[in-house]
Amino acid sequence: MSEPEQVWICDNCNIPLQPDKVDVAYMGNAFPVELLKCPNCGLVFIPEDLALGKMVEVEKQLEDK
């Protein structure tokens, strides 16, 4: 049996976050990705494993000249 999908609630607006297009920018480079976002205030949720995983990989890539 699969686990029910975790629902994240915006602390400011008390409504569920929803997947949405977000521009990720670093060192003047930006590209669109899909992340959980509050449809009301625009707060974006970045999970820890994402921040410490591929976000670090992307940063290293963009730092590489």
């Binding site: 591929k54 992307v58 590489d64």
Partner: protein, 244 residues
């Protein structure tokens, strides 16, 4: 280790989920930028050499009045192009194009010259089918550190990286076949974003290369690429000039 087993990376379109419709750095924004630099009539005849699944053809047909033609070596990709409505597509290699002399106003070759078996023959062929003063619009990988080029060429993956050349070799090669190079622009920033999108989609570049080829060593691939320091360029040339 060098092996005879080769993967055609450009046919692995599922690998490029997340980078947009056009499977190359810069996407349609770079194509539109290039076209804005050319003085083309509204009904100009354009050939997309290496049109793949027809993303650029579909986009340009929707947004411009150009008469679009496409060719690609891959029957698999042409079938996708056909399914999305492209009618004027033909299976052909860049070195032997089924068009009469002087028939076209512009040729787009986006991230494709570097995968052709014989780039010189292809450029000569482009010159043959373009009208006088017709445009060659070329964007592709180039090598920023020529000392690292040999190792990158030996990788068992058929991609634009393997055929990338230094800038100093590309411009004379184009001009040798009767073109005058009008514009060279560096778009390596677009390559950085493209690579970042691949990392985002696959978790890391190592994972991407693992999925791209079961017999390529991802560490060897990454090492070869980082030594050659690939960049991305846009070149616009016009037929006629020094030699033509």
């Amino acid at each position: 280790m060098i092996t005879d087993l080769r993967i055609h990376l450009y046919e692995q379109s599922a690998l490029f989920d997340g980078v947009g419709e056009a499977i190359r750095p810069g996407g349609m924004a770079l194509t539109e930028h290039a076209l804005s630099l050319c003085n083309l009539g509204a009904d100009a005849r354009l050939l997309d050499v290496g049109c793949g699944p027809g993303a650029a053809m579909a986009y340009l047909s929707d947004h411009y009045e150009y008469r679009m033609f496409g060719c690609d070596l891959s029957a698999q990709l042409l079938q996708t192009a056909h399914l999305r409505g492209a009618r004027s597509v033909v299976q052909a290699m860049g070195e032997q194009l089924p068009f009469a002399d002087g028939q076209l106003d512009a040729i787009l070759t986006e991230c494709t010259l570097s995968v052709m078996q014989n780039a010189d023959t292809a450029i000569k062929e482009f010159s043959r089918i373009l009208r006088p003063s017709g445009y060659l619009i070329l964007n592709d990988f180039y090598v920023r550190n020529p000392a690292g080029m040999v190792e990158m060429r030996c990788l068992p993956v058929d991609s634009c990286l393997g055929g990338a050349l230094p800038q100093a070799d590309i411009i004379p090669r184009i001009e040798r076949h009767g073109f005058r190079v009008m514009i060279w622009e560096d778009h390596t920033d677009a390559l950085r974003i493209f690579t970042a999108q691949l990392i985002w989609e696959h978790g890391s570049l190592q994972q991407f290369w693992c999925r791209a080829s079961s017999h390529a060593d991802p560490i060897q691939v990454q090492k070869a690429i980082s030594q050659a320091k690939p960049g991305y360029f846009l070149l616009i040339a016009q037929k006629g000039g020094h030699n033509g």
